[in-house]
Amino acid sequence: MDPHILFLDTSFMYPGRTRTREWVLQRFNLAIGKGEFHVLLGPSGCGKTTVLNLVAGFEHPSLGEVWVKGRRVTAPGVDRVVIFQSSDSLYPWLTALQNAEFGLRIAGMPGPERTRRALNFLRLVGLAGQEHKFPCQLSGGMKQRVQLARALAGNADTLLMDEPFGALDAQTRSLLQTELVQLWQQTRYTMLFVTHDISEAILLADRVSVMTSGPGATLKETIDVPLGRPRSVAQPEFGDIYVRLNRLLGKEAA
């Protein structure tokens, strides 16, 4: 079967920055299957977000290629949607509902249908009753839920998540991790989830790819996480996988 997301010898360097001609990524290769929950794990600053931006179409490979569903990525597309770490990506002048409707408005969906669909997804992410609040009236976790609702309301089949829970407190993070897995099990999006948190990677992923530290980062190793779901840190195998990932990552930590 053709992979859903495919990196072929992808290298990346920021264009035009002549002072430090440094590779961010070098000969990066990765294949992610359709419906897979793939976590990209790496030390901070190694270029994980760049990998995500290449799939999203925000950045373009300097060498090599990125493919999604058998087509080369050249620009952002409505089939791939990003959940950003920063809630700056919400529009503070729009209510939670209007934020969730944003993609549908661009798609030209008529008002009533748009509102119905956005409300459905707000309910799905646990924001029923919050739809008329502005982002500044919502907690960090709720803002990420709005981002999720906005992403799900569109017609994407691929979610690109850039440390979406990185700025949340431990309890909220754990709750959202559980809910995200449930959501993914119901919907079967293809997930590319970036994090530097080993536990988060094990709790979420079908497979975890560990990156080397930058500059010139590349893929170190991809391992399967053969644990049943729902998962918990109390599972005995959890510790084994943690140790293994920690060893892989430990050599890369700055």
Binding site: G77, F84, D88, S89, L90, L94, F102, C136
Partner: protein, 269 residues
């Protein structure tokens, strides 16, 4: 930040009392302190004709209201300010948005703007009078000048301050350039537009007084200058207080309007 929820609650008598107390402490009390200080200073100086105390200034104020001169001069200044400020604001916002959105426009205009914004409108008064005459045209053009660049710089800054993720989030949904401008860039810039307009309003008040002091037969600047010549210091004080009060009120109304029309665009995160 959002007053929506509190505005819906019933205005009870305790809330009215709370408001009264608020205005008393924020506005009335400082005015009283200022007037007391002014009175004491004038007594110490001891020369009422050169440094008139509040009471005689107030008498002059009443006389100036009665004979209509305060009103006529205030209106003359305010009409000039409103004309120059509003035209200059439109130019400033347009230029700022173009500079923010189009690098070519930014590269071409930046050197001129970075030069001109350091040349105060006051420096141009004579030149503008030579080019455009001593009448209303030169004064309104001067205020357009005093307004435009400050707002343009602020708005251009506002466009480049938009977080990349705000733009990228929209790109994920296939947004086109026109939608990006109307739905993301413009609303995200509103706080910068309002901040720029506030500063520009202040610049307009400064510039018009100087222009009217040099060449005008109406306006608060003219009132200050003509009173000085006849050593009617109390009349210059009336003009100064009127100027401050008008500026205060105009700024208040501008902020009220900004909150009314564009309040939701100024919400923080």
């Amino acid at each position: 930040m959002v007053s929506r929820s509190s505005a819906q609650s019933e205005p009870t008598s305790s809330r009215v009392a709370e408001r009264a107390l608020y205005y008393a402490t924020v506005y009335v009390l400082p005015s009283a302190i200022l007037i007391a200080f002014w009175d004491a200073a004038a007594r110490v100086y001891g020369h009422p004709q050169l440094f008139p105390p509040p009471l005689s200034t107030f008498r002059t104020f009443v006389a100036a209201v009665r004979d209509g001169s305060l009103w006529a001069n205030s209106v003359a200044s305010m009409v000039r300010i409103m004309a120059g400020f509003s035209i200059g604001s439109v130019f400033g916002v347009l230029i700022g948005l173009l500079m923010g959105m189009l690098p070519a426009v930014r590269y071409v205009l930046t050197p001129y703007i970075d030069f001109l914004r350091f040349v105060s409108a006051l420096a141009w008064i004579t030149a503008f009078m030579v080019w455009f005459g001593v009448g209303e045209t030169s004064k309104i053009l001067l205020l357009i000048y005093a307004t435009t660049f400050g707002i343009a710089v602020n708005v251009a800054e506002g466009v480049s301050a938009i977080p990349t993720v705000k733009l990228r989030a929209a790109e994920c949904f296939g947004i086109n350039r026109r939608q990006m401008f109307v739905w993301v860039v413009l609303p995200a810039c509103v706080p910068f537009i309002v901040a720029g307009m506030r500063l520009a309003l202040q610049n307009s008040f400064t510039a018009i007084i100087a222009a009217e002091m040099l060449a005008a037969n109406r306006g608060l600047g003219f009132l200050i200058m003509s009173s000085r010549i006849f050593l009617q210091t109390d009349r210059t004080y009336v003009a100064i207080v009127a100027l401050g009060v008008l500026g205060f009120l105009t700024d208040f109304l501008l902020m009220r309007a900004a909150r009314g029309f564009a309040g939701r665009y100024q919400l923080g995160d």
